[in-house]
Symmetry: none
Subunit: 224 residues, 2 copies
DNA sequence: CGGTGACCGTTCGGATTTCGTTAGGACGAG
DNA sequence: CTCGTCCTAACGAAATCCGAACGGTCACCG
């Protein structure tokens, strides 16, 4: 069970890491909103404990961003106890709201209650990288929450690359898988579709982070 | 959305009934533990708001009894704010714990958060989008209150699309599900029926909002 | 150091496929 | 016969595919 803790107070972070770690939880930490988002994407936590008063992004923005691609339970921790703050956070997508100071026992019990509610997703047919998520089963691609439209050929190429994630896919493999066994040499259109995929999925299409080219060999998809 | 409120304080009961009723919730009440259990069985609420300090059964016993047969979200309301009380209630199966006094807004937000988490019942007999309602079990479609008449083929197509909501349904799947396994390629009638369905269900048939087409791949029903 | 060629990314535009829609005929039930 | 449903045919519109060409980068070599 992995938990992401986002708080700007180093002391709080340390205390929670120790408390939760002692209960056998796998703890990941972040000290500001941006880092929290990145960590949520990278490490796929089972529960997120989020402090609202962080520098950078507001807590609300972090919640909404997470909700854009994930259903992970979010437990908000905040010094503010006004009911309006609670309503805003909960309606943004948070699942629980605890005001400081709180007891470690209560936090743990609430975490248990939350994780009880989310029966481990059977299998994960969805791949996430950057602000993009790809759902292989329902053929849905979203970026920043908005859905991205792919043509059939683009989809087939992405599918092949994702299936061989982190591995090199030769040009020939790609051609035969997408266009059929008789196609074996690229006459130029493979480069074309890779270009379009990067334009639609990469944060900076000119400096690909996920859809990489291996000169002379082929292509490789990686999340690292 | 039906809510069961169990509290021994008549004033609190009345206040909650009014508050929740004003938000469009269907409210059922009970004044002691036994009555709460009975009501939970009888009326199948979508959310239970449970006061711990009731005569008769203890709140914990009520929670455990409910959990014996139901996964309905339980929100505990209590005057006791000791962390031990919270832990006990949450570990017994409660999903949230609010201490009195609390604001109505917060309670409502927490109820919304809980019901958001409630897994959609496996077979959802009715689907609504725009001003259209489709009752899968009784094969009735209404639009703006008036009933819409669908031909058998139109109905079968709509049913398949609704069953795979938000997912892409390939042309081939649609054909085999509606016309039989031997039909595998579209000779034109699929487009025809989609056109007719849109004419009957879409607010603007020329700019579909729910019955979307994915060029080269198939169709998709979505409410978003 | 400049030239050269291989390789890759990108743009453009026309060919091709796919889609939406209308019109009308075939077929069976009442 | 009449009506409702299913299906074929046809055509304009839209989306997609893909060939061709241009520019950039990099390794290699004279």
């Amino acid at each position: 069970m992995k938990i992401l803790i986002a708080d700007d107070d180093p002391q709080m972070l340390r205390a929670l890491r120790i408390t939760l770690g002692a209960r056998g939880y796998d703890v990941v930490t972040a000290a500001d909103g941006r880092a929290a988002l990145d960590a949520a994407i990278e490490s796929h936590p089972d529960v997120v404990v989020l402090d609202l008063g962080m520098p950078g992004l507001t807590g609300i923005e972090v919640i909404e961003a997470i909700r854009g691609w994930s259903q992970v339970p979010v437990l908000v921790v905040s010094g503010r106890s006004e009911s309006w703050d609670k309503v805003e956070a909960l309606d943004a997508g948070a699942d629980d709201y605890v005001t400081k100071p709180f007891s470690a026992d209560e936090l743990l019990a609430r975490i248990r209650a939350l994780s009880r509610r989310t029966p481990a997703p059977a299998d994960e047919p969805t791949v996430s990288f950057g602000d993009v998520t790809v759902d292989l089963s329902s053929h849905v691609v979203t970026r920043d929450g908005a859905s991205v439209r792919l043509t059939p050929t683009e989809w087939r190429i992405l599918e092949v690359l994702l299936r061989h994630r982190d591995k090199l896919v030769t040009r020939e493999t790609l051609l035969t898988e997408v266009w059929g066994p008789q196609y074996t040499t690229d006459t130029g259109y493979l480069r074309l579709y890779l270009s379009q995929l990067r334009k639609k999925l990469e944060p900076e299409p000119s400096a690909p982070r996920y859809l990489l080219t291996e000169a002379g060999m082929g292509y490789r998809f990686t999340t690292a």
